[in-house]
Symmetry: C2
């Protein structure tokens, strides 16, 4: 009986987690991270404010779980049609990244706006999902520069991703020029081609 | 007499603008954009809340004026020691940009966090200061690819800046890896060298 009631307890907690996660995801997807407030969330789900903190350690954990769902969606859009040529594949990934950012801008932006308190690392489950996404870049990079060591390749993939992200982010915001969003495909195409050409082939 | 009182009025307004700007700059430089509140600012300067809006059109104008001061500071750190070789100069500028971001992170970050309401363009005086900063990149790019048309060069400078900015921003946040801030110099050096090598020389 004790076992039964424990299971029931767990299931109830899991159901609450799921409902909170769905509600938080809907808010972030529509209005972005700044719109997420614990009080609104509790009202939406119909639980007490304190109940959020029985289901999640804190709001950060909840936001990271929404982020994981965003990464899953991003991963799905990157998946199809891999090119056999390394440079073409990098090109394809960069343009797919831009398309994803455009199509789900608030939740994409939330991935980068959210910051944990200083000194608190992201949990392992989150880091490994993120690193799996990067491995999509490492693979075509490795084809372009087959002699690069794996650790070096990881660093290069991170650098390349950060660069593409910077171009997409500032371009969509039109921070640097009033017409930037219009020229983004062209910029990314030029950028990836230049990078691919400059990589050491040795 | 009417003239005199008008001048006096103007000077008073200008003094208030200056004091508000100094106070806002101090807040943003220490605690970032999120810490800037009109009420606190009025209290700091010792004016009524409404007086802020006699000195500035709105908080956006005030924040853009702080941004202009930040750009002036950034420009000053980029100024010395220009290299004669185009690739070396791009390298130098990228590393100087990283150094500036590290040394004045809250106010540097504020430049990019601040967004005007949709559809409202940045004022011309702001855009021209920003574009002057970009011309620092256009010059070494032009030396590397002398046949590139000026409009194309402007676009390439913007792309290159956005890429470097993405690497610096995500690296300082350690968003992508726990040790990213340590490898940033190496990443930027590798990145700019690869780009410079890949640029069309024709």
């Amino acid at each position: 009986m004790a076992q039964d009631s424990e299971t029931k307890q767990k299931t109830k907690k899991e159901r609450l987690r799921e409902r909170l996660l769905d509600a938080a995801e809907a808010t972030i997807a529509r209005d972005g991270l700044a719109a997420l407030k614990a009080r609104d969330l509790a009202a939406k789900v119909g639980c007490a404010l304190g109940a959020i903190y029985t289901a999640f350690d804190d709001l950060d954990e909840l936001i990271l779980c929404v982020g994981a769902r965003t990464m899953t969606r991003l991963e799905a859009t990157l998946a199809d049609g891999a090119k056999s040529n390394g440079a073409d594949e990098l090109q394809r990934l960069a343009l797919a990244y831009l398309r994803y950012a455009r199509s789900e801008e608030p939740r994409w932006r939330a991935l980068f706006e959210h910051r944990l308190p200083p000194g608190k690392p992201v949990p392992d489950w989150y880091a490994s999902q993120r690193d799996r996404l990067f491995s999509r870049l490492e693979e075509p990079l490795a084809r372009l520069t087959p002699k690069t060591a794996p650790a070096e390749l990881r660093l290069q993939a991170r650098t390349l991703f950060s660069a593409v992200h910077g171009i997409v982010m500032l371009g969509l915001e039109e921070k640097l020029a009033a017409d930037a969003a219009k020229t983004l495909e062209k910029e990314l195409t030029y950028f990836v081609a230049t990078m691919a050409k400059g990589l050491p082939r040795a």
